[in-house]
């Protein structure tokens, strides 16, 4: 969870992008990296395999600036989506302040989405978090592809508690900042 560092006057918040493999988690934070002003972002770190699949995590710090004397920063992380990297996923969730679940809207990824959501609930529970009581948004990605499920079907499968959800086309940046804005505002509200 967030730490308020009164000594260095800093507040850091951790936002984790979670979801099935190849759903577009890394694409989201790469787009953020490309589009925010260079002086507001740190280095984009990717611990990936040779084939550019996330092995451990991607990490991007984004500075919100100094607010009432506190330098405020979001730490954006992605987890590896592939099923067999669960140990890594669990580690990245340590101290999480907000979650973005990036679902792949394609029909054939329905089961992978559901499995990843169950896995998220299990892993959050291990850290003592209840996803229904923490900043949490869902992004339905790849809306430009022809074989996508309807929003109703996706909501029914993945969003029974009606958390805020956003349509996105990560490769073109559509919905990327709407998603980030929604989760970061939720995270900020938790601090007051």
């Amino acid at each position: 969870m967030s730490m308020i560092n009164y000594a260095s006057r800093e507040i850091n918040c951790k936002i984790v992008y979670y979801g099935p493999g190849l759903g577009g988690k890394t694409t989201n934070i790469e787009y953020v990296y490309d589009k925010v002003a260079p002086n507001t972002r740190g280095k984009l770190i990717s611990l990936a395999t040779e084939t550019e699949r996330t092995l451990f995590f991607d990490f991007l710090p984004v500075d919100l600036g100094t607010i009432r004397g506190f330098k405020t920063r979001f730490h954006l992380y992605t987890v590896p989506g592939q099923v067999y990297y669960n140990a890594s996923r669990k580690l990245i969730l340590k101290g999480v302040d907000g979650i973005v679940f990036v679902a792949d809207s394609q029909q054939e990824r329905h089961d992978a989405n559901v499995e990843a959501m169950h896995n998220l609930y299990d892993n959050l529970a291990e850290h003592g978090h209840d996803p229904r009581r923490m900043p949490f948004v869902i992004q339905y990605n790849k809306r430009d592809l022809p074989n996508v499920l309807s929003l109703e079907a996706l909501d029914q499968a993945l969003n029974p508690t009606s958390v805020p959800s956003f349509e996105a086309v990560g490769t073109r940046g559509i919905g990327v900042f709407d998603t980030l804005k929604a989760v970061s505002k939720q995270v900020i509200k938790q601090l007051s």
Partner: protein, 165 residues
């Protein structure tokens, strides 16, 4: 959920720790010491200011420690309480503090691993006491610090500005 930061690091905590880290660096001849929390956030730095991206460094160090924790449990150990990474010129020694914080010491050929190891051991004991008190205080506060609602309003405006309104 508490609805607040889970813990806070006060200026008085920083002063106590700076004194401790300062004497540790003098006695061990290490270049620099960093404290990072287990979630990957930098708490404080003492000694030579690092010329690398300390935010990224903190995140990677926490991941390194967490991955090694899992490796330890796989071979039947509860934890690896310290890690050592040897470089050609510069090396790193990492030590767990009270299961919440990691002490990272950067040193070069002016220091010896043996001396670092000995000094870190006593340093960790003292740091653990300070952090135990700190977390006790947080629990006593009912979960940690809260920020004023005006701070939240201003932060929301900044989010709109940075991420587009």
């Amino acid at each position: 959920m508490s609805g607040a930061a889970s813990w806070s690091f006060e200026e008085s905590d920083a002063r106590r720790i700076d004194v401790l880290l300062g004497s540790f660096l003098r006695e061990s001849h290490a270049r620099c010491a960093l404290l990072v929390d287990r979630t990957g956030q930098l708490i404080t730095v003492a000694g030579e200011r690092p010329d690398f991206d300390s935010t990224a460094f903190a995140s990677l160090a926490a991941a390194d420690f967490s991955a090694n924790d899992q490796l330890a449990s796989m071979i039947g150990e509860q934890e690896f309480s310290t890690l050592f990474h040897q470089g050609e010129k510069d090396s790193m020694y990492l030590a767990d503090v009270a299961r919440r914080v990691i002490l990272i010491v950067l040193f070069d050929e002016r220091a010896t691993l043996g001396m670092i190891r000995i000094k870190v051991r006593s340093m960790v004991r003292e740091l653990a006491e300070i952090f135990a008190q700190l977390f006790q205080r947080v629990m006593g506060d009912g979960g940690g610090s809260r920020l004023e609602s005006s701070w939240v309003d201003e932060a929301e405006d900044e989010i709109d500005r940075l991420f587009g309104s």
